[in-house]
């Protein structure tokens, strides 16, 4: 762990570029930016392809990934050219690149931990915990749904099991026979050998001990004795395909490492069962690589269990869900062996019960003492009674609607109520709806009967079809009462919409772009989204039901159930394609950002988990290197580039132009404000010159003395006094401004051009002439003001570090102007900060624009 101060030291301890001409430093910084931008463009391009709005192929993916790998390497080289102390990033690049190559080879499932607690599954681990576990982890995090606690055995363990038991060459043989596809007898023979070998496989070394640790952790959190359910979680299971019942589940397993392992290897062997192999061959004839994970969860002692279909497959565009339940465990229902009660619910808000079809339930499945399940006759009074009462049905119905809204397609859900009446979701997977020829033929005809509200308008951020009631969002507070399954219609796109995306059927905005953060989030969550739909707010009303078809950029009045049914029958194929699956896995490992806060301890090369993290680290590090350039006064002045700046306030600034920061005709000294062409520096100076912020009007007693201490180099330098010049290094789009105002030291470093992601502001403030308490109060005051302007701020004693980035140029200029005012406003305020209340007073005054308070007193 690095302490805050180690991080500061890391960033500030180096001045190795002091022999470089500042023009060279800046040019090298620009090279880092260029290469980072190219990499981010490639990532954005790849992300856009996931929207479904493009035709692309494997060649495109392969070429893009290669270019990305090279470009990232260029970024690391460029950063080291700027500051050679970042050689360790080459190793980070290599580590991340190896993972990408493993994904391209479909071997990324061989990495990572052996076991992961379900609560701790990270999105980067989705491919190794398997689809079913990944879904369950999402339910825990995003919907706060109760699932039985437990852990995942990853696909890495499966590969270890294969290696440890000497089965790798047999698996390779199986895969190549699969691809060849013309020797079914040989394939069948290898399949049988693998199935048999896995059923008696030996545990890899220390594996039982690791299981034991997970079991101990579960025991510590569970008050009463429990048994376990060991279920398959294959790589693709639940993500796009149902794989319903293809693999083995072992129920009511004793909580010992040996029993768990014995159940696990049976599950692993079921990857090679006849029916699973046949199903997979039908689904992915061209992809023989497969692996399997498992979920080990506490076995629920069920009162009543069953299955729910969030949509009636017989009426795929309709609004009816089906719930089937029985007393005890639900295994018999899922396998179709037990009769159950069937309930039809209307998916309104709230859901209502439409129909109850009860059947005689002579027996039920219950936990057997020796393990497994046992069939027991049911008491007469239960046999004809509905297994679910109204409250239970409505609670379940609510959950089912939530799950369908979250996964954006009909769900096939296994659920159970325990003996205490608590509802658990055991599994939620896509419900496959068969498409009929009629559906396609009738679609064109049916669509003629619906009124079109929007035709051929807007841009596609995410493909798809969604129907629901309009919920207009004019400001963030409108998100508070967003109804489940509604369509968000907004004035402009906003990443704040992420709060309701898992509940939204679609998003439509009047202004926006398919490359915004919101669009990226829509692709991640598969929310159909149209942006730039001119006038949409005047075409729809709150509460009105509409259907959005982003594929053909049209919006219908009402619920077009034919279109919804058609969508169900085709979109699954698209997600199932090898290219989409590969792209999703690549982006999952490239585009996610974990290093969000450069001021946190975690902001280190070791913690870069994706290319995006690495790019972020490189950018921040390059900025810090630039910031340090301004600190090194002697080096800057050595090159004889400095000219004095003539301002109406006595700020005494020397200016060094490294390209386009001054007009060509600017004089060699006494440069007037009008000759400044540096966009960010002009913005700061505008703020400093703003009426009353420099408290020129009524100068307090002693001001001149203080001012002289600021502008000269005193001979009796006090401890902690910063001496030297105030220097601004500028270009057209850049400023590095260092104030050495006697007792405090202040840096503003900003890059500002028309590309949002090039832009940053770095602000650092340290010291003051008064005692530490007052200096710390000033630090708090600055921090509060900067926080109000959306800076990311960190303070320690009298040090304030604040950063902001990724802003539009106009916003940058506005914020830099504010910083200019702040510099003037706070210059000597620490003298007056004699109480915490005074801090609040001056913060408030600044935020109200009441700058004169600093000169009134």
């Amino acid at each position: 762990m690095h302490s805050f101060w180690q991080i500061i030291a890391r960033f500030f301890g180096r001045t190795d570029h002091h022999n470089l001409d500042p023009r060279q430093v800046f040019e090298r910084f620009r090279t880092v930016l260029r290469s980072n931008n190219r990499a981010l463009e490639i990532i954005a391009d790849l992300g856009e392809k996931l929207s479904g709005n493009y035709i692309f192929d494997r060649q495109y993916i392969g070429e893009s990934v290669e270019e990305l790998i090279t470009t990232l390497h260029d970024s690391v080289v460029a950063l080291n050219h700027l500051d050679p102390h970042h050689q360790e990033l080459f190793a980070v690049h290599t580590r991340l690149t190896e993972h990408l190559r493993a994904i391209m080879l479909r071997e990324d499932d061989r990495q990572g931990p052996r076991l992961v607690s379900l609560e701790e599954v990270d999105p980067l681990q989705w491919s190794i915990v398997g689809g079913k576990n990944a879904h369950l982890a999402e339910l825990i995090h995003h919907l706060k749904i109760d699932i039985p606690p437990g852990f995942a055995i990853t696909t890495r363990t499966y590969h270890e099991l294969i290696e440890y038991n000497g089965l790798r060459s047999l698996v390779d043989q199986f895969e190549s026979l699969w691809i060849l596809g013309d020797r079914p007898d040989e394939l069948e023979e290898v399949r049988l050998r693998l199935e048999a070998a896995l059923e008696i496989a030996k545990p890899p070394s220390d594996f039982l001990e690791e299981i034991n640790q997970q079991l101990a952790a579960m025991t510590a959190k569970t008050p009463s004795p429990f048994t376990l359910a060991v279920r398959s979680s294959a790589q693709e299971e639940d993500l796009d395909f149902s794989f319903a019942g293809q693999f083995l589940s072992v129920l009511n397993v004793a909580p010992t490492p040996r029993a768990v392992f014995a159940a696990y290897r049976r599950v692993a062997a079921s990857l090679f069962s006849r029916k699973a192999v046949d199903y997979r061959h039908w689904l992915f004839p061209e992809d023989g690589k497969m692996s399997i994970g498992a979920g080990i969860q506490i076995m629920v002692d069920s009162l009543v269990s069953g299955v729910a279909y969030s949509t009636d497959p017989g009426n795929p565009g309709g609004e009816t869900m089906i719930v089937v339940g029985t007393w005890g465990q639900g295994a018999g229902i899922a396998e179709g062996e037990f009769p159950g009660d069937t309930f039809l619910l209307h998916k309104g808000d709230p859901a209502t019960i439409r129909e109850r079809n009860l059947s005689r339930k002579a027996s039920g499945l219950y936990l057997a003492v020796e393990g497994g399940l046992i069939e027991k006759p049911l008491p007469a009074e239960l046999q004809d009674e509905a297994c679910l009462d109204e409250a239970q049905l409505l609670e379940l119905g609510h959950r089912v609607i939530q799950l369908e809204n979250y996964f954006k397609r009909p769900q096939d859900i296994e659920w159970t109520f325990d003996q205490q009446g608590r509802l658990f979701i055991l599994q939620s997977r896509p419900l496959l709806v068969p498409v009929t020829r009629d559906l396609r033929r009738d679609l064109i005809e049916a669509l003629k009967h619906y009124e079109l509200l929007v035709v051929d308008r807007g841009q596609v951020a995410q493909q798809g079809i969604g129907a629901g009631k309009v919920h207009v969002v004019r400001q963030d507070t409108d998100l508070e009462d967003f109804p489940d399954g509604a369509i968000l219609v907004g004035r402009r796109d906003s990443s704040h919409f992420v709060r309701v995306m898992h509940r939204a059927a679609a998003i439509v905005t009047e202004i926006g772009t398919p490359v915004s953060h919101m669009a990226t989030l829509c692709r991640e969550m598969q929310v159909p989204c149209l942006v730039n739909v001119h006038d949409i707010l005047s075409l729809v009303k709150n509460g009105q039901e509409i259907t959005v078809d982003t594929e053909d950029r049209r919006i219908f009045r009402g619920r077009v159930k034919e279109l919804l049914a058609y969508q169900l029958s085709t979109s699954i194929n698209l997600g199932a394609t090898w290219e989409f699956r590969l792209l999703r896995r690549l982006l999952n490992s490239v585009a996610r950002l974990h290093l969000v806060d450069p001021l946190m301890d975690q902001f280190t090369p070791e913690n870069c988990l994706t290319y995006h993290d690495l790019l972020r680290y490189i950018h921040e590090t390059a900025v810090i290197t630039l910031v340090n350039m301004g600190k090194d006064e002697r080096s800057l002045l050595r090159h004889n580039l400095a000219r004095s700046l003539e301002l109406p306030i006595p700020a005494g600034i020397m200016i060094i132009d490294i390209g386009g920061g001054l007009a060509p005709e600017a004089p060699t000294s006494q440069v007037p404000f009008s000759a400044l062409t540096s966009i960010p520096f002009r913005a700061i100076l505008r703020g400093m010159l703003y009426p009353e912020v420099w408290h020129r009007a009524t100068m307090p007693v002693g001001f001149h003395d203080l001012m002289s201490s600021m502008l000269s180099v005193p001979t009796d330098a006090l401890e902690g006094q910063y001496t030297g010049h105030n220097i601004a290094v500028v270009s057209r789009n850049y400023v590095n401004l260092c104030f050495r105002f006697g007792y405090h030291f202040n840096i503003i470093d900003a890059h500002c051009d028309e590309r949002e992601r090039d832009n940053h502001i770095y602000f650092r403030f340290l010291g003051g002439a008064t005692d530490l308490t007052k200096r710390s109060r000033r630090a708090r005051m600055i921090a509060e003001i900067l926080t109000a302007f959306d800076f990311n701020v960190r303070t320690r004693g009298d040090l304030v570090i604040a950063r902001a980035s990724n802003m539009l140029q106009s916003e940058m200029e506005r914020v830099l102007d504010i910083l200019g005012r702040l510099v003037g406003y706070t210059r000597q305020l620490d003298v007056r900060l004699d109480s915490e209340a005074a801090v609040d007073y001056y913060v408030e005054a600044f935020l109200m624009g009441n700058y004169s308070v600093v000169s009134d007193e």
Partner: protein, 132 residues
């Protein structure tokens, strides 16, 4: 957007050795009312065209067995009125020149947006209507 509501629907042939291209375009244009056939093997595709000619052919350029320029020659021979659109990841100018001199209707570099291909197909359809 919807074609063929009063007359016979237009017949569309898609040839690309990467299956996803045909799958996706099939989905899109079936929904728009076209009769779509997608092939990953250009030789089989041309054989299908010989059986029952197509109005519009969308073909990849570089494929095993037969390249897009050869597909262009063959389908034009079967039915000179067929409009051929070539899609390719290798956008080279001289190939494009060769394609245009061979009577290609349009040339679209991959990857492309759905509205780009939709637009090309709609233009091809109205161009054919001009044939009378």
């Amino acid at each position: 957007m919807v074609v063929g509501s009063n007359s016979e629907p237009r017949r569309l042939l898609i040839i690309d050795d990467e299956a996803i291209v045909g799958k996706r375009l099939n989905q899109i244009f079936t929904k728009m009312g076209y009769v779509v056939e997608a092939h990953i093997d250009p030789v089989q595709a041309v054989a299908a065209a010989e059986q029952h000619p197509f109005d519009i052919v969308v073909t990849d350029l570089k494929m095993q067995g037969m390249d897009g320029l050869e597909v262009l020659r063959r389908v034009k021979k079967i039915n000179p009125r067929t409009r051929v659109i070539i899609i390719t990841g290798y956008a080279e100018m001289d190939t494009a020149d060769a394609a245009f001199s061979g009577g290609v209707f349009d040339f679209i570099p991959k990857p492309f947006r759905l509205d780009e291909i939709k637009d090309a197909i709609l233009r091809a359809v109205s161009d054919m209507a001009g044939d009378g």
